[in-house]
Subunit: 244 residues, 2 copies
């Protein structure tokens, strides 16, 4: 049986103990029905802890740290997936997949062909849900870090988001493609930003702005991929090239 | 606007005309609300046809072939994804994804950790639905061929399924991994079979049988992928290596 893993905040560590008092409390006690002496893995983005349940109160699980070590299943490249705004279900799918594949950040960008309205009144709940999906995906995939879900951006804000070493966008026009393989093989820096358009793709206006800002077009093969499949393709290709 | 594409059977071609009288009839007439003179792309696994609607009867759409050419967006490698039996929603997700990524065949294999019962009374309807998903994915991704959904196999039947040039299985045990990259780079033949376990993974018993039959273990990186994500990873890696 594989041990359950929980991402915890460093502020919940007190000397040799870890206190769980958030939604993981319910998961440990009600869903997994764990008891005193059961073992749990916790991780905080830096260390991984082997722990044992020493007490369960009405709102806390108290864990004793038995062992502490540094694990590293991260890919060592900081990938931000910027995704033309699509509907919630597709965002959730992408956040889950790219989390398990080691991405660092996800951001929705309002683009010309985004056919989804932004409902700002429900937006906090939506981020909360996406962040929960990202956290659980990290736990299940044995990552040490949790994907950061950023707040939605306009296309102009996106163009001014510049703190990266490589700027890419997924292009269906293979004629001006520089070759993803060549680009990734030659990449030895740290931070990649890639934009993947919504269902309708990237408009001519947007494409010309992207090129002006130094974004390189890359193709993912001869077939047309869905907007929710393309991020998984990119992360898989990157892992294949840099980790296998 | 991108033209609609429909996969057709060669038997529906009559000299310079194509007759559509199956479920695509409804799609063309009711969903897309197309009219006389509208243009449609048809493909039959060999040729791609540019056609124009010349008549719509009560149960047929009659198309005139305007142009006929050979297109090829296939990856040129015949990939069979064998997947430990998982529940329907996950099968559908995998069939959709690997279809758009160019796979040739999909087969569910009943494995030790498959926690799904096979209900043989509903199985034909299930295949029908998976085949429909495969057909639509080919149409949308601009492939020329349609993924073949095979009938479910027992693990013993699977072990005797031998008409391939390379036999792989997804392994989470990275210590005996031979390296997917090295294997794919050296592969110059035609037909690959890869087995991906169900949620619970591949049992020790199964793994030892696989090794006896010459299957090579391959890892998809340091993180644990879900059973429904692994096939997309494999197809993406293959496309990256062989097509980009």
């Amino acid at each position: 049986m594989i041990m359950q893993r929980y991402y915890i905040n460093k502020k919940n560590i007190f000397n040799s103990q870890i206190i769980i008092n958030d939604s993981d409390y319910k998961h440990i006690v009600k869903v997994m029905r764990m008891k005193k002496k059961d073992k749990i893995i916790c991780f905080d983005g830096e260390y991984t802890y082997l722990t044992e349940i020493i007490d369960i109160t009405i709102n806390e699980v108290i864990l004793e740290i038995l062992d502490k070590k540094i694990e590293n299943n991260e890919i060592g490249i900081d990938v931000t997936i910027a995704h033309g705004l699509v509907r919630k279900e597709k965002q959730e799918e992408v956040v889950e997949k790219i989390s398990t594949l080691g991405a660092s950040k996800y951001v929705s960008v309002i683009m010309d062909y985004s056919n989804v309205k932004v409902s700002y009144d429900k937006i906090e709940r939506k981020y909360e849900r996406l962040r929960k999906i990202a956290k659980e995906a990290s736990e299940q995939s044995h990552r040490q870090k949790v994907l950061d879900v950023l707040e939605i951006m306009s296309f102009d804000e996106f163009l001014n988001y510049r703190d990266f070493d490589l700027f890419l966008y997924a292009s269906t026009n293979t004629s001006d493609d520089l070759g993803l393989k060549k680009i990734i093989q030659n990449f030895n820096q740290k931070k990649i930003l890639i934009l993947i358009g919504p269902e309708g793709g990237i408009s001519i206006r947007e494409e010309s702005l992207l090129k002006k800002m130094g974004f390189l077009p890359v193709s993912f093969g001869k077939r047309i991929l869905r907007t929710e499949t393309a991020p998984t393709f990119f992360m898989s290709a990157l892992i294949y090239e840099k980790e296998l």
